[in-house]
């Protein structure tokens, strides 16, 4: 059985939103939170911003999409007017950041949210990104956000849409930290596996549906049901791929569900999208299963195809070091076949000088 732990950890480094970019996302959230909390109107409504989405759950992959922020209004419920809440948020934000298209402004209205651009000025922190802030009011134990159709904001029914986003973040964290949930070494494995699944999806489905969130739902479901076990990344990922393939195979008769709301995912997947996902993940699960029986280099070659690449690394999973030789050339490594070690490394422990 191959020993791929180090390679998977480096692959995770390559796909995670880490370091400066994650810090900037958190800082941006903090900046907006502090700005909004200073406004009397919003304060009276009990504003309590929260980082949600894959950034909030720490399941996003590089380069990452918008940073989603829930502007929770703890003293409002669905009796509040979406327009009034939305306009109050927009007023404060546009005053601070200006409107896009007007003298370098950075704020922009979306269907039900306000987007603020955060440019990467010194181009050293993973590029530009934006914060998408959406107002949310209480609905029972959950939260509700305005419907995307602003024409319906005046109606009594349907102007707020219930969302389990906040609760899903809490459940994800619980699952990750659970003592009965698999670990690799000392590291909790659930969230890293979600990232590897999202990366795999990105490689093999790209812009096609299902998107990353639905794959995360399916992964969550499998892990919460304790269908995946193991103590190595490759074993856990293989088991997860198998569960995903099985879940899509029966999704035609048993629709995917939102794990919080326990309702079919909305918008639903088409039959063609479900079949394609079942086929692709079925093949990937089979390839992963084969890789478990290979030597390190051959297994790495297989996993490189499964995980694919991103802007930082293509593929994201590095080859393992070889004994007594160099790991081939770029040409060999970028092809489908495994590269063999060539040549010998000569190290000279000479006292080398500056150039």
């Amino acid at each position: 059985m191959p020993n791929m732990r180090k390679q998977f950890e480096q692959a995770l480094t390559n796909i995670e939103i880490n370091g400066e970019k994650r810090k900037r996302a958190i800082d941006a959230h903090t900046e907006i939170r502090e700005l909004l909390q200073q406004d009397k109107q919003l304060k009276d409504w009990g504003i309590a911003p929260l980082l949600i989405g894959s950034y909030g759950r720490d399941t996003g992959i590089y380069p990452g999409k918008d940073v989603d922020v829930f502007l929770r209004f703890t003293k409002l419920d669905t009796s509040a007017e979406p327009r009034a809440v939305f306009d109050a948020v927009w007023r404060v934000i546009v005053q601070k950041y200006g409107q896009v298209g007007q003298g370098g402004g950075r704020a922009q209205q979306q269907a039900r949210s306000v987007k603020v651009l955060f440019p990467d000025r010194d181009r050293a922190s993973g590029g530009d990104f934006s914060v998408d802030a959406v107002p949310a009011v209480r609905k029972g134990e959950l939260w509700a956000i305005p419907t995307k159709d602003q024409n319906r904001w005046v109606e009594g029914e349907g102007r707020w849409v219930t969302t389990g986003a906040v609760r899903f973040g809490e459940l994800s964290e619980d699952l990750n930290q659970s003592v009965s949930s698999p670990k690799v070494g000392e590291r909790h494995a659930y969230k890293p596996i979600v990232k590897l699944i999202r990366q795999t999806r990105e490689t093999h489905l790209g812009d096609k549906r299902p998107g990353g969130l639905y794959l995360e739902f399916v992964t969550f479901e499998a892990w919460r049901s304790r269908l995946v076990s193991g103590s190595e990344w490759d074993v856990l990922l293989t088991g997860t791929l198998k569960c995903i393939a099985d879940r899509f195979a029966r999704a035609g008769v048993e629709p995917l569900q939102d794990p919080v709301l326990r309702t079919p995912v909305d918008p639903p997947l088409s039959a063609g999208q479900i079949k394609q996902a079942a086929d692709i993940f079925g093949k990937l699960a089979a390839a992963a299963n084969r890789a478990l029986l290979m030597n390190d280099t051959d297994a790495a070659t297989e996993w490189r195809k499964i995980l694919g690449g991103n802007v930082r690394a293509n593929p994201v999973l590095p080859y393992p070091p070889t004994t007594g030789g160099r790991m081939g050339s770029t040409v060999a490594a970028s092809g489908a076949g495994a590269a063999s070690g060539t040549g010998a490394t000569t190290r000279r422990n000479e006292a080398h000088r500056f150039g």
């Binding site: 370091g19 970019k21 802007v311 690394a313 293509n314 160099r326 060999a332 000088r353 500056f354 150039g355």
Partner: protein
């Protein structure tokens, strides 16, 4: 397209470690250029917040290039290149991010506390913003002994690749006009462009330079434009003298300078390459009979090793067929081999005084032989003539002036005072 690498696995590991250190690939560079937070070791050396790491094809045998803006120290260039390893370094210390960062820490410590002297000789040239692949030769001895701190010099383009500089003002219409400046220790890193040069000069030097620069009239390469075309700037660094040779192009605001590859050509400097025995051989005299295919190489090697006086004896003419194995080339064909070898030696080892005798020596002429061998330390026979070696050996031994006789071509040698007692023996 991923760039070419000899070890894709270690390159991928290195880049993954870069990501873990907060670096990201710069868009549209195919992961060739990475930007990330500046290493804390640079604190105080620059205000920059980021640094770049550039990969060239050939990993891991070529180190990644590191760029940090705002540095003003040796071993860094105006465009921010940080010279971490000398050209050709094969340590592979850079193969891990940890190794690279260790080197950066070492570099920064030296940037603060001083560099090793051995690291610096070529630094000024390498760090100059523009470089011109043209070699400039000059007489280092005369520069060191020149009176004053600045003066005229002139140069000629000896060939398209070589500018030969000499002391004194330009005289011919095609001569390049030059100025040399000499100062003491520099208080700042050597100039990295033309505008940084004046700050290292004394007032009188600076005025002289400004005046000469203002006289330049038109644009072009290293050609005479009036005023000054070439500048030699020398400074003292502890026990040695470092220098930059700059070729000027353009005039007025468009004026710019490029560093040339500076190489001294004075005898003292050249002799440093003669090898460890040069001083020992410096006072020795050698006579060599026969400077053909073998003897010519023997003569040249002796001269290159530092022999001070070489007498070469050969009356043969150099033919085209000889050239195949001879030290002299086809341009010498038709002349005497002795003269040809003398010419080659003058070109390679100017410190060797060559006494070229292009007449045939009569093996029976004891007196004639005696005159040739009496004042030398070593007698070498490369004539390939067995009948000649005996009388030479005998005369040399009788005179007691030659300690050894080598008969290179015929595998005979004479070893006076050996236990066997015979004057000449066949070698094994």
């Amino acid at each position: 397209m991923e760039q070419e690498s000899f070890d894709i696995a270690s390159l991928e590991r290195f880049r993954a470690d870069l990501v873990a250190s907060g670096f990201e690939p710069v868009p549209s560079t195919e992961r060739r250029v990475w930007r990330g937070p500046i290493h804390p070791a640079f604190d105080g050396l620059t205000d920059a917040r980021t640094m770049e790491i550039v990969f060239d094809p050939g990993w891991p045998y070529r180190p990644p290039r590191v760029y940090v803006q705002g540095l003003n120290t040796n071993h860094s260039t105006l465009n921010g290149f940080v010279c971490l390893w000398r050209e050709g370094d094969a340590s592979l210390q850079w193969e891990t991010v940890g190794g690279l960062f260790d080197r950066i820490e070492d570099w920064c410590e030296r940037a603060r506390n001083g560099w090793q002297e051995d690291d610096l000789p070529f630094d000024a040239y390498l760090n100059f913003k523009k470089k011109w692949p043209l070699m400039a030769t000059f007489d280092f001895e005369s520069l060191l002994t020149s009176i004053g701190s600045w003066g005229d010099m002139n140069g000629v383009l000896a060939n398209p690749n070589l500018l030969s500089l000499r002391p004194g003002p330009a005289t011919g219409p095609r001569d390049l006009r030059g100025l040399w400046f000499r100062v003491g220790q520099l208080l700042a890193p050597p100039p990295r462009n033309l505008s940084e040069l004046p700050q290292h000069l004394k007032r009188s030097q600076r005025k002289g330079l400004e005046k000469a620069l203002s006289r330049r009239r038109s644009t072009g390469g290293p050609q005479t434009l009036g005023g000054v075309d070439v500048i030699l700037f020398a400074w003292q660094r502890r026990e040695r003298t470092d220098l930059l040779i700059l070729a000027l192009a353009g005039t007025g605001d468009d004026m710019d300078a490029a560093a040339l590859v500076a190489e001294p050509n004075d005898e003292r400097t050249l002799r440093l390459r003669a090898g460890p025995d040069a001083d020992l051989l410096g006072g020795r005299r050698v006579v060599l009979f026969g400077v053909g295919a073998l003897g010519g190489h023997v003569a040249l090697t002796l001269a290159e090793s530092g022999i001070e006086h070489l007498r070469i004896v050969d009356s043969d003419l150099l033919s085209p067929g000889n050239v195949v194995r001879h030290v002299a080339g086809h341009d010498q064909v038709g002349g005497r081999k002795a003269s040809a070898v003398q010419s080659v030696i003058r070109d390679h080892a100017p410190w060797t005084e060559v006494d070229s005798i292009a007449t045939s020596v009569n093996p029976g002429g004891r007196q004639e032989i005696a005159q040739l061998v009496e004042d030398v330390d070593v007698v070498i026979d490369a004539s390939g003539n067995d009948a000649f070696v005996y009388p030479v050996a005998q005369v040399a031994e009788e005179l007691g002036t030659a300690s050894r006789l080598w008969c290179a071509a015929s595998r005979w040698f004479h070893w006076p005072g050996s236990a066997e007692g015979t004057g000449i023996r066949r070698s094994n």
